[in-house]
């Protein structure tokens, strides 16, 4: 498997705080890699290290085999990026904003029109960015990242500010990008549903550590199925469910996490029987499909566990 992006032991400390620790990210060539994690998990710090904006305290980051710290210019030639802050100049038109990057990259004039066409912004290119909506700015930022058709695209929250139609368009655009251009896309997002519909691979980061990564299909298949249980006495039901060897996900309701390989129908029937026999009225037993959200919640619970133990201690 050829890797477009690879990090080995990537670590970054800010004073005494470790923002990213021993990160071993592997993004296969021509993949759409969804980089997930809660706020403050280290996503942006990781992206900045990949772009050479900050230096790693330890470890290294490779873009198409080029060490970012050793050859920033060489690595930067392979990357187009859209960061959380667009960095667009409000006093300039959309076209002028693209001109800035086009000139700095010494690309032919036609390249500006090409990327404007790709994001369907050509009719609005003459307008000042100060008159653009957030979604238009986002699309212009993506157009700028596409200048020069770089083999790797790093996009931080690319659907931010887009309306539902814009999100759907962007989803299709990003998902089809590897097939159309051969590019690899690394996108960070909070929107699990969007990533699930766009990404071929996923990495989840918690507290600076990569908790899980791999092909999305494999990961969701491995994720334990779940059952949402509605009863009249949840406090009595909880120990009963745990006694049968199931986990309960954190949250208000009774969200039962089954074991990988469990048959959902059999588990539901068994739980129903046990609860009813204990005198607990069961209103509903709803199987939850294996999804990225199931996986994410599972990983999130696992990564919260040590903290909870520490607090309890």
């Amino acid at each position: 498997m050829t890797l477009a992006i690879e990090t080995c032991g990537l670590t970054r400390r800010f004073g005494g705080r470790t923002a990213v620790q021993d990160l071993a990210m592997q993004v296969p060539a021509q993949a759409v890699y969804g980089f997930l994690g809660p706020n403050g998990a280290g996503k942006t710090t990781t992206l900045k290290m990949l772009l050479g904006l900050i230096r790693p305290s330890e470890g290294r980051a490779l873009i198409e085999g080029i060490d970012v710290a050793a050859d920033r210019m060489g690595a930067a030639r392979k990357v187009g990026a859209l960061l959380e802050a667009h960095g667009l100049h409000a006093n300039l038109t959309g076209r002028e904003n693209l001109e800035i990057t086009r000139r700095l990259l010494a690309l032919p004039r036609g390249e500006t029109d090409r990327v404007l066409e790709v994001v369907e912004m050509r009719p609005d290119a003459h307008r000042r960015v100060s008159d653009y909506s957030l979604g238009m700015r986002q699309r212009l930022g993506i157009a700028r990242a596409l200048l020069g058709a770089p083999p790797v695209l790093i996009l931080d929250e690319p659907t931010n500010g887009l309306d539902p139609d814009g999100i759907a368009d962007m989803r299709g655009f990003l998902a089809g990008l590897p097939a159309r251009t051969g590019a690899t896309v690394l996108l960070s997002s909070h929107l699990l549903n969007e990533v699930e519909q766009t990404a071929s691979h996923v990495g989840v980061i918690f507290a600076g550590r990569l908790a899980v990564q791999g092909p999305l299909a494999d990961l969701t298949a491995r994720a334990a199925p779940g059952l949402d249980v509605e009863v009249d006495q949840p406090d009595r039901a909880r120990p009963l469910i745990l006694a049968r060897g199931f986990d309960l996900a954190e949250g208000d309701g009774l969200s039962v996490r089954l074991r990988p390989g469990d048959d959902v129908r059999a588990a539901a029937a068994g739980l129903n029987r046990a609860l009813v026999e204990a005198g607990i009225a069961v209103f509903a037993l709803t199987p939850r499909r294996r999804s990225l959200e199931t996986l994410y919640r599972h990983v999130a619970d696992q990564n919260r566990l040590p903290t909870a133990h520490k607090e309890a201690a």
Binding site: F14, K48, I54, G87, N91, L92, R103, L105
Partner: protein, 241 residues
């Protein structure tokens, strides 16, 4: 390098920095115009043009540079463009040098504008009130040389202000430095050691003592080149956190 410079000039389109570049010399011309109108006797052109140059070098240039560098830096700090720029396969020192080049070009354009607008203000005042129309002719070569020296002597203060403006995301440190520097330059006008103060160097070019004028020019220009070099070395290595 020229490409990066052209990009910096493109960024000035419809910007507040471009507006300032016209407004600051315009204020000098406005002052010259109304000052002439209130007079009873005609002055010669040399006096009119020297008056404009003196006010410019004494106060408006340091304050104008303070505002200009703050506005130019905020064009990148505001939308956080540094992240995008520094992620590009372009040497960072080139981007920063282009930024400095654009600032110096704008300051040079402001010097030229002071010269042209002051002459225009004098001529217009003379048309409105023929009795005070400046006498004689403008010695253009001498005036261009004088403004070139003021510009060169202002290199150090321009470099210091630009460094402060680019270093800090907030515009406040640069403004405090510029306002403070200009204030002390004004209150210490007659101080013997004032010539060593960057914000006073441009006006010292007008000193009647040629040695003092040459010292201000040498310190301003030499110091400006040195500080620019240090600024490029420092800011190119900084992380974009």
């Amino acid at each position: 390098m020229l490409t990066a410079l052209s990009v910096e000039l493109l960024k000035l389109n419809r910007s507040l920095a471009a507006l300032l570049a016209v407004a600051a010399p315009g204020l000098i011309a406005l002052f010259i115009f109304f000052n002439l109108l209130r007079m009873d006797q005609a002055q010669d052109w040399f006096m009119v043009m020297m008056q404009a140059a003196a006010i410019w070098a004494y106060f408006m240039l340091p304050m104008g540079v303070t505002a200009l560098t703050a506005l130019v830096a905020q064009m990148e700090h505001g939308p956080r463009s540094w992240e995008h720029l520094f992620a590009l396969p372009v040497r960072r020192w080139r981007l920063l040098a282009a930024k400095a080049g654009a600032v110096f070009l704008v300051v040079a354009a402001m010097e030229a504008a002071v010269l042209m607008l002051a002459a225009g203000a004098g001529a217009l005042a003379g048309l409105i009130k023929p009795g005070i129309a400046p006498t004689g002719v403008i010695d253009w070569s001498a005036m261009v040389w004088l403004h070139a020296r003021i510009f060169a002597a202002g290199a150090l203060l321009t470099a210091i202000q630009l460094w402060a403006a680019l270093r800090f995301r907030s515009f406040v440190p640069g403004l405090v430095l510029g306002i403070g520097g200009t204030f002390f330059a004004v209150v210490a006008t007659s101080a013997k050691n004032g010539v060593f103060m960057p914000w006073q160097m441009p006006v010292n070019v007008l000193a009647t003592d040629p040695a003092r004028a040459d010292l201000a020019l040498m310190l301003g220009l030499g110091g400006g080149v040195l500080v620019l070099g240090l600024m490029l070395a420092h800011l190119s290595r900084r992380e974009v956190v």
